[in-house]
Structure formats: structure tokens, C-alpha cells
């Protein structure tokens, strides 16, 4: 596997100095804006109240701090109560809007009557009280203005304090100090990394109200705590699944997420707002114009990186990015969505990956996708430039929208896949799903784009001699056919199409489309005459390498005899709908007797040799039949995407599934094809049990079997999975998995 290496140091300099000379912020602002979570200059250890004769005086009997216990072990109270015990991270991790505890050992029992002290929390450079980046917390209720603080317990020299961070405080990594007031000034504990703590979003916090509070317990558990994901692809009527390791709790991932915000220079003061964080991340997860996490590549050439289909999880990607900040190669939509999902869940924002089947991408809020036919009704490939993605993955994250009127909170669409035609917008969302369903696309952010992705019409134009086009057919139900996400708490599917759209043909649907048009979403206005001849291509389930019969079902409801000159094209297409090679062309003429509506079927035989040599990527075949009815001049059309099914990987484990005990995993694959597979990458990993491993097979000859065994040591008890993938140029996205349940 070859991640892109760091460029020559020179490059960075030259890259950034193109706009040169470098200009200082002098005159522009008083100081640099804090946009990094890295702690800035230290808080002084001694802050005198007045000029002292000769430095700090000797301490007589003033309160002195001997030790501070952050109670940060997974089994201790903080991480348990704050649902952060799974993070493989040595620091204290708590959630805002919920009390956590810290024990302080003084040189003697604390005497409220005369001893004054405070816990000070600071984040970012130049911490300021008025900006919420410097927060002193006192043991006495009435003195606390930002965060709550109280003494929970005192025994001898040890005092245990409860701290309640505001439910809207900044999310990130804080430094912590204990400050004791003496008559001469304030004495502080030294800076100590072991006393740093992470404060995250808190979907459990209803009162005080965190804006990411999610009421539904099952959804909350799924969308914040589950590291095991299922991502849907393929076709709406033949859905395929693949597992994904989000790994939001794995070692280094939380720091990687903070690094991403730092790299995006998101001001510290914005980091309490899930809307701003989600929006910034949608820009940073892709590398476009900001050197973000993932480089998109749909070309089929992945020489210098990892094929998008080869990844099995987010961990490898995020760690590689955090280690140097160079974009990782390569991603397609589901990789962007999966890594984005890890980012959101890791910070505590409820999030899920959704798949929209037949997604009208890249069309810039325009509600139509054009397919051009020539005079005879045959598809004119040279002039048809739009494509509909077989599917597109994006994310939903759950939050209140305090920046919008009532009612637009809840699930929000965010999409990190760079939109190519949307005004150079390499970020998308958050856009309220409710707003999209109701056509209220006037509210930020980028609602018109998402609306078009699920609502576009497919318009067939016929081109006349003089170059003008006439719309001859409009298919309003093709795009946004099905929206799926993993069901909470199970491995089942949850159909959420109805959250995006009203039923096809319903009155509400019409109203919504009109509403959206009021807000400038353009769509095809003409509605061509209804057809008396219908055409349909039934779906098929086909194994890669198999031959099959493609059926064309004509229905003649005219009551008279009809003759259709049909053209059937078959293409190998990318999942973006972009054709790669033509595999079939036939132009049968079909005569339809006036029958009682039942179909006249025309069968087209497709042989393996027709397509096997031409497959790309995820092996999708796209058939489109168009034709003209001789008698009426009416145009009939039908489209069908067939996703060829792949062989599975056999994944097996051996050994006792117990924490810290070594186990073995074996990945097995047999090449049943007539050709050999070259440069085959095999990957395997499992959240909490096995870090990502991968292995390269230069050649797997026809008929041969490979078997790869690796050992691993489970880190955590509970249910998990081992997920494996096999990927090479000739055969992409072969996957397999096995469930494991680790005992303690």
C-alpha cells in the first residue's frame, strides 16, 4: 500500500508563498486568531497582585497542591458515566453538559473559610475568559459564572470536586491547572500533559441541553457508539452491502479529528457549534482546495495509492493523514462518507452513512438530467453528457439548527464528496432533511444541491436536424429511488426514503416541487403526451462471469397494432453512471398485436465474453433501450442497471475469544475465473480486536487458492467483526467478514 509521501519541504514553502511575500497580521488584528487546539503560551505559575520586593515570598502555611487525580481510567467513574470508556486514549475524556470529577490532594485539609482555590481550564492560544477559552471553576457555587463546580467529598487532605461544563462549551482538548490564591498573588500547578482532558459533544444531555441531544436511545447508541458500519451500494432492486470499520475509538483517532479541525484552521471559538464543525469537516474530508484528508479518484488508475474499493475502514486513512497532513489516496463517495462518519461519531455528533440510489450528482441544483436521442430515437452518446450515479453515499448528522427558524433541526445532510459543478463548492451541508422533504431549499447550507440529488427528472430529448431539441419523455421517478441506512441496533436495512420525499405522485409531492421552484430550482416544465406503448426491462441477479438473458417487455395498450423500432445499448459503466465501453448493440423491430395489456417479450442473450474483458471498478452493466413507434412517432424508453455479483472472501478465526489472548484469522480466496489476477491487495481489520493489516499477492493464477493467516490480540470485550477485502484491477470490492464475541 502506498500512501502519498510528504512532498519536498521546498514544495510546501513554494506552494504557500505563491501569494508572496508572506504578510504579517500586524495592523490587521491585535493577535493571531486562535485556530489551533495546540495549547499556546503557558499560564504563568505565579501571578503577583502587586510588585513584590524580591519575587514570590516563601510559602508559609498557604494551601499547596501535592497531587491531582483526573480519575481517567476506563473503569473509573468519569469515562463510565460519560460513555467514553471505549476510547483507546490515555487522557480523561468527558462530555459537556454533564458533571465529571477530579480529586486534589493538598498539603493539608482544605479550609473553605480561608483557603481560596480554583480549577482553571484553558484551550487554544491566548485563552480569554470572555471567549470561553479560559474557565476558572470554584468550589463554591455562587462564584461560578461559566461552568458549575462543587465539592463532592473531602477526606483528610483529599478533596473531590465536581465540574459541570456548559452544554455549549468548546469541544476539544483542554489544559487544566489548580490555582491557589495567596495574599501576594495566584500560585498555579505546573503545566502537566497528564492533566489535559478532552471535552466532547453530549447526545445524552437533554438538560442542560446540548444541541446534539438525540432522544431515541437506540439511534443514539448506533450513531455515536457503534464502530461497525454497513454501507449499501449496487442497485435499488439488488442492494449490495459492505462492512466498514469506523474505528472512532481506536488509538489516535480522536487526536486525528482535532488535527483535521486545526488543519482547516477552524477558530477555537467556533468549536462548540456542531453546525460549524460539520460544515468545516465537509470541506476538510476531501483534499480539494484545502489539502484535506482524501483525494478523490474515479479513473480506475490507483497506481500511486490505495484503490477506493480496497479500504476496509477509516482508521488507516485518518492515522496516515494525521501523521504529516498529506492527503491520502484514494477515495470515492462511500470512503468520504465513512471517514466523515468516523470524525462525527468520534467527537460525539450522532451520524450515519446513507446511500441514495440513482443520485443526480453534479447537476448544480438543476432538476433535470438530459439524455439525447437522434432523429430515430437512438441514444446520441456524443451529445449526452449528464450521468446519474447508480448510488451516492453521504452522511446525516443529528443536531438542532439554532441558526434557522423552528423545525429544521434533526437529521442534517452533510457530504464530503467534492461536487464538481456546484460553484466550486467542495463542501456541502449541513442541509436539513426536513427542509429538503418540504422543498424549503432557501435555508443554508446547500439544500438545493441535495434536493436535486433526490428529485431530478430524467428528460429524453430528441434532436432535430436544425439542432433544436424537443423533450419526448420525462421520467420523474427514476432519480432518488431509494435511500437506505443501517438500522439501529441490528444489521438490517432502514428505508428512509420517506424522510426525503413524499410518495411519488402524491399531492404533497407536487406542492413540494413547486415550492422548490419558487426558490429557483429549475426543472423541465413540459410534459410529453402519455404513451400507449410501454417498455420495461425486468431486473436480474447475475454472477460476474455468467451469461444471462436480458428481457425487453413491451406493453401495447393502444388497442391497435404497433411497430416499434427499438435500439438496445449495453455498456459497462462506472458507479457514477459514466459509460466505459459498449458491450452490446441491437436494433430489433418489434411488432405488437393489440393484446389485453400482457407483455410482448423480446429476449437478448448476453454472453460472458461480451463484457468480461471490459469490466471496470464495481462491475456495473447498464442497458438502455429506446425506440420509436412507427405508427405514432411516440418514443419509448427503458433503462436497467445490473450489478454483477462478486465471489465472497472466506474469513475464519481460531483461538479463544478473550481479551488479551492471541487469536488467528484466516482469509481465503479461490480464483474461479479463467484469467489470473495480478497485484491483488488483501486487507483485514476489526474494531477493538485487530488493527488494519494488508498483504499483496503479485499473482493469483486461475483455479488457485490463497490463504492468509494473521494473529491478533483483542483489546476489548464485547461483539466485534473481522472484515476483509480483496482488490485488484480486474476484480474490485470482493469482501468477507466474520463475527467474534470477545469475553473478558
Amino acid at each position: 500500500m502506498a500512501e502519498p509521501k510528504a512532498p519536498l519541504p521546498a514544495t510546501e514553502t513554494m506552494a504557500t508563498t505563491r501569494v508572496r511575500p508572506q504578510v504579517s497580521i500586524r495592523g490587521r488584528s491585535v493577535g493571531p486568531i486562535a485556530s489551533s487546539n495546540a495549547v499556546g503560551e503557558e499560564v504563568p505559575e505565579f501571578e503577583p497582585f502587586m510588585l513584590l520586593p524580591r519575587g514570590p515570598p516563601p510559602l508559609t502555611d498557604y494551601l499547596d497542591v501535592w497531587d491531582v487525580n483526573m480519575l481517567k481510567e476506563p473503569e473509573e467513574v468519569n469515562k463510565q458515566q460519560h460513555h467514553t470508556d471505549r476510547y483507546a486514549n490515555e487522557g480523561l475524556i468527558v462530555r459537556r453538559g454533564q458533571e465529571f470529577q477530579i480529586s486534589i490532594t493538598f498539603n493539608r485539609p482544605h479550609d473553605p473559610s480561608k483557603d481560596q482555590f480554583a480549577l482553571e481550564f484553558v484551550i487554544g492560544a491566548t485563552p480569554q475568559y470572555s471567549k470561553g477559552t479560559y474557565i476558572p471553576v470554584f468550589p463554591s457555587e455562587e462564584r461560578n459564572k461559566l461552568w458549575g463546580g462543587r465539592v463532592l467529598d473531602t477526606s483528610d487532605n483529599v478533596l473531590t470536586m465536581g465540574i459541570l461544563p456548559r452544554a455549549d462549551c468548546i469541544v476539544g482538548k483542554y489544559g487544566m491547572y489548580v490555582a491557589v490564591v495567596t495574599p501576594y498573588g495566584i500560585r498555579r500547578t505546573k503545566k502537566d500533559p497528564s492533566r489535559e482532558l478532552y471535552i466532547l459533544f453530549n447526545p445524552w444531555s437533554f438538560f442542560p441541553d446540548d444541541s446534539v441531544y438525540l432522544e431515541d436511545g437506540a439511534e443514539r447508541t448506533e450513531c455515536v457508539l457503534n464502530e461497525l458500519g454497513i454501507i449499501y451500494h449496487g442497485a435499488y432492486d439488488d442492494v449490495s452491502e459492505r462492512s466498514w470499520n469506523y474505528g472512532q475509538f481506536e488509538f489516535g483517532i480522536l487526536d486525528a479529528c482535532l488535527f483535521i479541525m486545526d488543519k482547516g484552521a477552524l477558530p477555537i471559538t467556533n468549536r462548540g457549534d456542531p453546525v460549524k464543525i460539520a460544515r468545516k469537516a465537509s470541506a476538510m474530508i476531501n483534499s480539494k482546495d484545502d489539502e484535506g484528508v482524501l483525494v478523490g479518484n474515479w479513473s480506475g488508475d490507483y497506481m500511486y495509492g490505495v484503490a477506493p474499493t480496497s479500504w476496509t475502514g477509516s482508521v488507516e486513512i485518518l492515522l496516515s493523514y494525521a501523521n504529516g497532513g498529506d492527503p491520502v489516496c484514494y477515495a470515492q463517495c462511500w470512503v468520504y462518507a465513512a471517514v466523515f462518519n468516523t470524525f462525527l461519531r468520534c467527537l460525539g455528533i450522532p451520524a450515519r452513512v446513507v446511500t441514495n440510489f440513482f443520485s443526480a450528482h453534479d447537476n448544480d441544483g438543476n432538476l433535470k438530467t438530459d439524455i439525447l436521442l437522434d432523429e430515430n430515437g437512438k441514444v446520441d452518446r456524443s451529445r449526452t453528457r449528464d450521468s446519474i450515479w447508480n448510488y451516492h453515499c453521504w452522511n446525516e448528522c443529528y443536531m438542532a439548527r439554532l441558526d434557522l427558524p423552528e423545525g429544521f433541526g434533526g437529521w442534517q445532510v452533510v457530504d464530503a464528496t467534492p461536487q464538481e459543478t456546484s460553484d466550486g463548492m467542495y463542501r456541502c451541508g449541513p442541509a436539513s432533511v426536513y427542509a429538503i422533504k418540504h422543498g424549503m431549499v432557501c435555508y443554508p447550507f446547500d439544500a438545493p444541491f441535495v434536493f436535486a440529488e433526490v428529485n431530478s427528472d430524467v428528460v429524453f430529448y430528441q434532436r432535430s436536424r436544425d439542432g433544436t431539441l424537443t423533450p419526448v419523455k420525462v421520467n420523474t421517478s427514476h432519480v432518488g429511488r431509494l435511500v437506505l441506512t443501517k438500522a439501529p441496533g441490528s444489521n438490517g436495512r432502514s428505508d428512509i426514503t420517506s424522510m426525503y420525499k413524499f410518495p411519488e405522485g402524491s399531492a404533497e409531492e407536487r406542492t413540494v416541487l413547486e415550492k422548490a421552484e419558487e426558490y429557483g430550482v429549475r426543472r423541465q416544465d413540459v410534459t410529453p403526451p402519455v404513451a400507449d406503448v410501454a417498455l420495461d426491462i425486468p431486473s436480474l441477479e447475475v454472477k460476474v462471469g455468467a451469461g444471462f438473458d436480458l428481457a425487453l417487455d413491451f406493453r401495447n395498450s393502444s388497442g391497435q397494432r404497433r411497430t416499434v423500432e427499438a435500439y438496445t445499448n449495453g455498456y459497462v459503466v462506472y458507479y457514477t453512471g459514466v459509460p466505459s465501453a459498449e458491450i452490446l448493440f441491437q436494433s430489433p423491430t418489434v411488432t405488437l398485436d393489440p393484446r389485453a395489456g400482457d407483455a410482448e417479450r423480446k429476449v437478448i442473450k448476453v454472453r460472458p465474453e461480451d463484457y468480461m474483458g471490459k469490466l471496470v471498478e464495481q462491475a456495473n452493466l447498464h442497458f438502455i433501450t429506446t425506440g420509436k413507434v412507427k405508427e405514432t412517432g411516440q418514443i419509448v424508453t427503458a433503462m436497467r442497471v445490473i450489478t454483477l455479483h462478486k465471489p465472497r472472501l472466506l474469513v475464519q478465526v481460531a483461538g479463544t475469544p478473550r481479551v488479551s489472548e492471541e487469536m488467528l484469522v484466516t482469509v481465503q480466496f479461490t480464483n474461479d475465473f479463467k484469467f489470473s489476477l495480478e497485484n491483488v491487495h488483501v486487507r483485514v481489520e476489526g474494531p477493538g480486536v485487530m488493527s488494519p493489516h494488508n498483504k499483496l499477492y503479485r499473482l493469483i493464477a486461475p483455479g488457485t487458492t490463497i490463504s492468509w493467516t494473521e494473529s491478533f490480540i483483542p483489546r476489548r470485550q464485547g461483539p466485534s467483526k473481522l472484515m476483509a477485502s480483496l482488490d485488484c484491477h480486474a476484480l474490485r470490492q470482493v469482501t468477507g467478514e466474520v463475527d467474534v464475541h470477545i469475553e473478558n
Copy 2:
């Protein structure tokens, strides 16, 4: 003058290949998205209807095109009727939604009964009818689907056609062809640059309705056709002016504007929408993250470029950018606004530069600006990090907002000055001015930021020993004190504050602030007790180099004796409010007898030597007095900005003011200061009369006078101005001008 030169070619490559390897669009989309106005592959000269035995047949009596006349001379019908006669541009320039004319000379008279032809207009690569980038226009009404076309006149072989572009068509440079239909196929005229035409926005077009239609004739003339600008700066109660040459009609400017959209890769299909164009331009006018037009610099060090204060117009900047695409050094807010204004007016979008006095910049939609005081009520400079700009310039452009609900059209704020703290947002707007006035900040784009710029509160905090802060005074009327723009048709000022805000203290004002808070705009909630001691510093008009008396007027309405321990600080500040050097500190104790409200005045003498050595930039002095009332502990504060007045340049012209006759301009300046001026840049230019000239004086000794004479030849009749500036490190923004009226 040193524009930044193009970097080594290497740099560009390395810069762009940091995310390497370069990835093709293969698989991602059918073809590249047309995002350049550069015409792509040529339209074929012959398009056969069917396979022909041996190429195109000999032409027998089919219609043949001999010549095409675009009627593009300034005095001809098109440019006159379309208000485009002033453009120094050889192409035809027309506005959409309004008919223009083209004459075609055929080989014989055109016979409607048998001759079929069309005018074809194409823009960008891969023109498509369905995308509005390929438009055939026929002489017969009924065949036209996108644009109107009709025969206006036929005489012998010459046919004059009227073409009516849709009022929402793409704005930019089109190619034009005449296509004749023959039985064998379509024959076209050769590609010919002299037949290209520009189509611009049309603020005159009410029916059909261009979304930039502006009803008010005076405003329309001012905001589209006027090249002479006045930009306001200084202080709200002592406003200074400077003239600016927008030069939107100068040679090369129109092409430069199209180049900016190409550089920003704005999809061609978006270029009919003024909202998308204005938004993209707000990002492209500054160089941040997209290698845009202008590099911001507030540091006072302009060694490698032109000082922002030195520019006299936009022409030099835009031409230098268009010639290579390297960002131009340097700009501050008024330069960004002025160049943006040129861009908008040049494309036909009504636009004006506005100045907001006391603008709360960089505060990321947060409605407060913090000033921190220590326990004694003295300003704590080390902890006060916010600043209020003495003034900030942005643009308003006029357009319907089809993307928003009814009522938010009209003037829209766009701002090209990079906002530093706004979520990496180096673009701002369009934000509806109406929405800002009414607190409806939930509508795109970036309304909360603009709202804060005119509505923030200034909050004085007092810091207690333990680090907590208590708000002791809130000034709600300081920010957004006055919003000015040039009055249409005159050189007067137009106060448009009331378009942004309801009157201070009115009921509406409160409602609006509450409304804005509903949409997440945070502000200071506490309101400290009303004061019984008031403090004011009256304004002053001061010449640079002069001494003056600063008055502190205390008012004691308590009815009792009061003692105020006051602290007065004086600073030299940048116009961003950022202090550069302290020039004065006094801490008088003032005793106030219970008088009938009349003021107790304390006078502080400021001598030239106090500040002259420390002046920066535009020579602003900022005085702030804070104090504590002994008896009540109440805090009193007052602030005053004094803009030191500069000497003027003397500008005179000689010769007869007639088109194409040589004239002379003389710029004169006497150094009345006690120090010499070094590296002094002098500039002079005038729209339609003189292109930008500049001259460098290495040294101007005290008491000496420089006089610089240049010749120029007026290009155009009518009123104009010659504007000059003098700029050096020690003395910035010295300007002068003279009116000229050129006869024909």
C-alpha cells in the same frame, strides 16, 4: 511600482501537484465541466445528414453567406440602445432581455419559402442546447425556443435580423455562426473572432425581467455607468473622501472580469445568475485560498508591492491580474471594495461601495466586542484582543433573490475583504440588506456576519483577582454608527444607515435584536446599572503635525459630590482599530460637585512631538478614557477617534479639453513638514481621459516642492476627473483631483 512577478513555472506545478498524482476525471463524469469562457472545439463547418458518396456536394444554387455585419461600432444602433457604447472594446457588447441587430449579406436575396438558415450562438466548451450554451436563432418566430429572432429588414441580398436573448441567459462572450440548411446537411460560416459578442446583465430590462432590473433611473445610471467613485473613510463625525477610478469601461477590463470567473472556475451554466456570480467574485477578488485578485496587507510594510493607500483606481490592478493571473499586492478594505465594484458594474450588475463607520469586523457573528479593564478601571491592553475598525468598506449589489422567499431582493451586501475568523470564509454575501435590517439572518449568505458588523455591542469587562470578568458597561450605539455611500448623480453623500438598522432605542430595534438572537447570534445579556456620572470626549478636527487640546467632559447627575479616578490613554491606531503605539497616558483624579448637569471639563494638551514620530498608515489617533467613581464603584468610559487631516495635492490641467487633443496635467506638492519624505509614489489617472501613470521621488526634503507634468489625450467626451495620490511610509493617502469636461 512592483507588481509581484509570476513565480517560477515550477512553483505552479508543484503547488498544484501537492495532491499528487494528478487524477483524471475519467469515470467521474462524462466530460470536463465547462468552467471557462474560452470557446472550446469549433462547431463543424459541415454537418452531413447522412453518409455522402464523396464529401460535400458542389454548391449549386443554395444560399451562401458572403458577409456578416455585427453593427458593433459605438455610434451604431446596438451599443447605443444597450448602453454599452462607452466600453473601450472592439467586440459587439449587448445586454440580455433586449433585442440587438445583425445584418447578413447572402449571395442572393433570401427566399423564406425555400431558404432555411439560423444564427447560432455558442459559449464555452461542449456547447449544449439543453444547457443554454448552444442557441440556434431562426428568422421565423415559431421556430425559436430559447431566444427570439425575426427579420427586421431585407434589401436585395442584405437581411437584417433582430435577436432577443432571454433575460436570464448566460452572461459572457459568445461565438456566432450562420448555419444554412442544404439537402445534404448544415453548412456553417467559419469561426471568426470579429463575430464574437459579449452579452451582459441588463438593469434596464423590466420586461422581459432581468433579475438585476433596477427601477430607479438615477441609481441605475450611477451604479452601472459611472466610472467616477467617491469612497468615504475617516471618522463618522469627521468624514474624509477619496475619489476612485472604477474604470469599468477601460480597455481590457471586461475581458479581465471574464478571466476572473474563469480563474475561479465558475461553471458556464452558473453565469446567468447574479447571485452565483457575486458570491464567486467575493471569493475571487481576494487572493485567499484561490489565488484571487488582491493580496491583503495591513502591516505597513509594502516593500514588494503598492501600498493600499497609493492606488487611485481599479484599472491598473485588474489589468495586472488578467496578465498572468498572479495576485496583486496590496489591498485593504476599500481597495477590495473598489475593484469588486468595477467587476460588478462592468458585467452590468448595479453596485456601489458603502462605508460602515465603527465596524465590528472579524467577530464571527458574535454580537460583542470586549474591552478589558483591570481592578482600577484602567484598560488592560495585554488582555484586550478585539478591535473595532474605524470604518470598513464593502459593496452593495442590486438583484432579485430568486433563491429566497419574497421580499429579500434589492440591495445585497457582498464583501471581498477576507474575514479572518469566520470559519475560513474568505467570501461574504450576497446578504440581503432588508434581511439584516429585520434580523432575518437565517437566509444565505453570511447574514450573521454582516449583522454583527453593524449591530455589535461594546462590552467593558472588569477583571477581578481570580480571573473572572464582570461586565461593567455596555455601549450599544458605538458600532455601525453611520453607513454612507455616494449619492446618485452628484458628489454628495447619501446616509443609508436606516437601510441597515432601525433607530437606536426604538421598539423595532429591540425586536430585531431578539429575532437575530433566535437565529443564534449571541450577544451580551447583562445590562449594568445606569450611570449617574457620564463622560464624553468631544470630537476635534486636527491637521497632521498640529497640536491640540483633548477635552474630557464629565457630567454628574447624582446630586451628590463624586470623585472619578480617570485613566486616559492615547494611541496611534491602524484604521482597523489595532493600536500601534501609545502616545499618551494620564490619570487625573476629578472631583465633581453636584451641579445642575453642566459638564466639568478636563483638558489634556497633545503636542505634535507626542505623535508625529509614531504615525502609521492613515494617521488615526485613538483616545480612550476609563475610570471608577470612588463613591459608587461605577465605571465610566469614553472613546474618541481623531483622523489627522492631510495636506492636499494640487492638480491642474492645461490645454483645450477636446477628444483626441493632447492636454497636460500637473501634480504639485510641498513638503511642509520638518522631516523629509522618502520613496514617495505619486499616481495620476482619469477615466476616459488618462491611463494610470506613476512616478517615484526618492526624497522630498522639508520645505521643497515637487511638480510633475504629464501629457494625456482624452478618449471620450463628457465629464471626467483627473485623480492623483501621493504616498510614502511617513505620509499616506495624500490625494488631489481636478474636474475636466471633454468636448467633442
